[in-house]
């Protein structure tokens, strides 16, 4: 029973982490290696607003998420757009930005166990005889809300439809009057905001530490690869697969193996089914 509950929470958490990466990659084909850094820095922005400036918790959360969206847009507009289409430079540039953010935070003294965000709702309830704190239940609710919102957004709004058009065929989208550069900026900004939202929702469950940036990046990538790069629904399903696998390993083997689960998942997927469970790319394109 506790495996079921904590597995679900973990899976939703993974889905939240991965959605931003999947969105950016799906739309502009830029692997955003700065994803984990955006996740962590949002936590620190919110922390600074909350503790440093003494703002209201809700207000500092909203401000932090808006700020990270702007950062994402700026990263795209000033760096990634210039190297777009050059695979090597895209990877190196986004990785270097992520490293700069994370190691800059580490240098700035943001390390150790002193940085925590408060949980949204205190307290816990018992499901059956398992105590579950309310924040974890809230994670499930927010996760479902985000997925539903994304689905509605990409199916019923103009910008959402334009984004999907670009993801499917950039040239055809250009021909229909969709400005691919602006859309890519929008995609990057919303990807960053999703990363930030994930950070805000998940960081209260533990300390804010720089190392989480790398973990989150790797777990997000693992989920995206297993689900098929660029496929959002695949990412959600893969999050459940990996989420339960991780909880099972934690229960039966130990916490250190969480990372190994992600790595094994990637390797197995690459060997057995390179385009993932629901890869949008045709398998022939990927497998040389």
């Amino acid at each position: 029973m506790d495996i079921l509950i904590y597995g679900t929470v973990n899976s939703i958490a993974l889905a939240l982490m991965a959605l931003g990466f999947a969105l950016v990659y799906g739309i502009s084909r830029v692997p955003n290696f700065a994803h984990g850094a955006l996740y962590v820095i949002t936590g620190f922005i919110a922390w600074s607003l909350l503790r440093g400036l003494g703002l209201n918790y809700l207000l500092s959360i909203v401000l932090a998420i808006i700020a990270i969206g702007v950062v994402g847009a700026l990263i795209y507009q000033f760096v990634l757009i210039r190297v777009r289409g050059m695979a090597i430079s895209e990877i190196i540039a986004s990785y270097a930005i992520g490293l700069a953010i994370l190691e800059g935070l580490r240098w700035g003294g943001f390390k150790g166990t002193t940085y925590t965000l408060p949980v949204f709702i205190e307290g816990s309830i018992n499901i059956g005889d398992i105590p579950v704190d309310l924040h974890r239940l809230l994670v499930i609710a927010i996760g479902i809300a985000v997925v539903a919102f994304l689905w509605l957004f990409t199916h019923y709004t103009r910008i959402g439809l334009a984004l999907r058009g670009m993801a499917q065929d950039e040239r055809a989208a250009l021909m229909l009057g969709i400005d691919s550069d602006i859309m890519a900026v929008v995609a990057m900004a919303s990807g960053a905001m999703l990363a930030g939202l994930a950070g805000i929702v998940l960081l209260p469950l533990g300390n804010i530490v720089v190392e989480k940036g790398y973990d989150v990046l790797i777990q997000a990538i693992a989920v995206c690869i297993v689900g098929g790069l660029g496929s959002w629904m695949g990412a959600v399903l893969a999050a459940f697969l990996i989420g339960f696998a991780q909880i099972l390993t934690v229960v039966y083997l130990g916490t250190h193996f969480q990372m190994v689960v992600a790595l094994l998942a990637i390797i197995l997927t690459l060997i057995l089914r390179p385009s993932g469970l629901f890869g949008m790319q045709k398998e022939l394109e990927e497998r040389v």
Partner: protein
């Protein structure tokens, strides 16, 4: 309005054109035009240990050479095969731990343990990276990024290979001159070896894999095999560096998988000139001493490299070496359009 415009014209120097052909050997002037840059590099590297003021800076030279090996291996993979490796630390770590184990458990002397660790380590790295070789796209970058991070977790979790303390009591090189000249000679050997390699038939195939893999497949060659060969060669360079570094520091630990080993070679390659193979070595000669001077800043150094890296990639993607080659081989002049 002045409609007259000028543009810069670049023309090859006469001597460059002459030395391209077989007749280069006819005159001393042309011979020296060809060989001077190479001799400057070789002699420069060989006298470096003598001109360094202190033991500390001599040690820095060895570290520069290890980074140079890694950077050349990154350049070979990224710009000749099209595989971006974000995890140079994997090569260093595997080579380093292998050599450390062979030295402490089996009692091999360093000069025997290093070659074995190089070959065996390259084999292990190639096997680890094999699943993503048949695929295109970002998979190689992702998987190579993950391995060093996962390795530290595995070592920590299983408490193998000395756990968090690392392996101590590793033999050093017989003396520091052997140490320095060994790494310097290895850098020169691999640098010129790889330059030769990319111009051989296999080098052509590798570049074809980067530019148009379908054409390679259509010619009946296995892309996976050629990529595996390239990964083997470049991970051999990385493992050699790792094997040397444990014998220099006489210690092998989880810091072998640290980020520095992944990011400095990339930065050096981009600054020095991507795709030139000599450029990365120059980049290391500049970056690593600077990094030693900035040692007190701690992880700020990584921020500094990353920002330089982004700046160079976005604004000056050619790098020092390409710029230098252009100035050496060509004259520029303004002409009216």
């Amino acid at each position: 309005m002045n409609t007259e415009q000028r543009r810069k014209e670049r023309i090859d120097r006469g001597i460059k054109v002459r030395t391209d052909g077989l007749y280069a050997v006819m005159s001393w002037r042309e011979l020296s035009y060809l060989t001077l840059p190479r001799i400057v590099l070789i002699v420069g590297l060989l006298i470096l240990p003598f001109v360094m003021p202190s033991m500390y800076w001599q040690r820095v030279i060895s570290i520069v050479c290890i980074y140079a090996l890694l950077a050349v291996s990154f350049d070979l993979l990224a710009h000749f095969v099209g595989l971006v490796s974000l995890g140079g630390a994997l090569f260093i770590g595997v080579g380093g731990y292998l050599s450390a184990i062979m030295n402490t458990s089996l009692g091999f002397p360093p000069l025997l343990a290093i070659p074995i660790a190089t070959i065996a380590g390259a084999g292990i790295c190639t096997l680890l990276l094999l699943p993503c070789l048949p695929l295109r796209g970002v998979y190689f970058a992702i998987v190579s990024l993950m391995y060093p991070l996962a390795m530290t977790r595995v070592i920590e979790a299983l408490d193998i290979l000395g756990g968090t303390d690392g392996i101590m009591g590793i033999d050093s090189f017989p003396n520091r001159w052997v140490e320095q000249y060994f790494v310097i000679l290895m850098v020169l050997l691999f640098l010129f070896g790889v330059r030769r390699l990319v111009n051989l038939d296999i080098g052509l195939v590798l570049r074809a894999v980067k530019d148009n893999d379908q054409a390679v497949r259509a010619s009946g060659m296995s892309i996976t095999l050629y990529k595996a060969v390239a990964v083997f060669i470049s991970s051999a360079m990385g493992c050699l560096g790792g094997a040397c570094i444990v014998h220099i520091y006489m210690w092998s630990g989880m810091s072998l998988f640290a980020l520095d080993f992944s990011i400095i070679p990339i930065a050096a390659t981009v600054i020095g000139g991507a795709g030139t193979l000599v450029g990365p070595v120059l980049g290391c000669l500049i970056l690593v001493p600077v990094s030693e001077l900035l040692r007190e800043f701690g992880t700020l150094r990584i921020v500094f490299y990353s920002l330089i890296l982004v700046g160079f990639i976005v604004f000056r993607s050619e790098g020092i070496m390409v710029y230098g080659q252009r100035k050496y081989h060509q004259i520029e002049r303004w002409v009216k359009v």
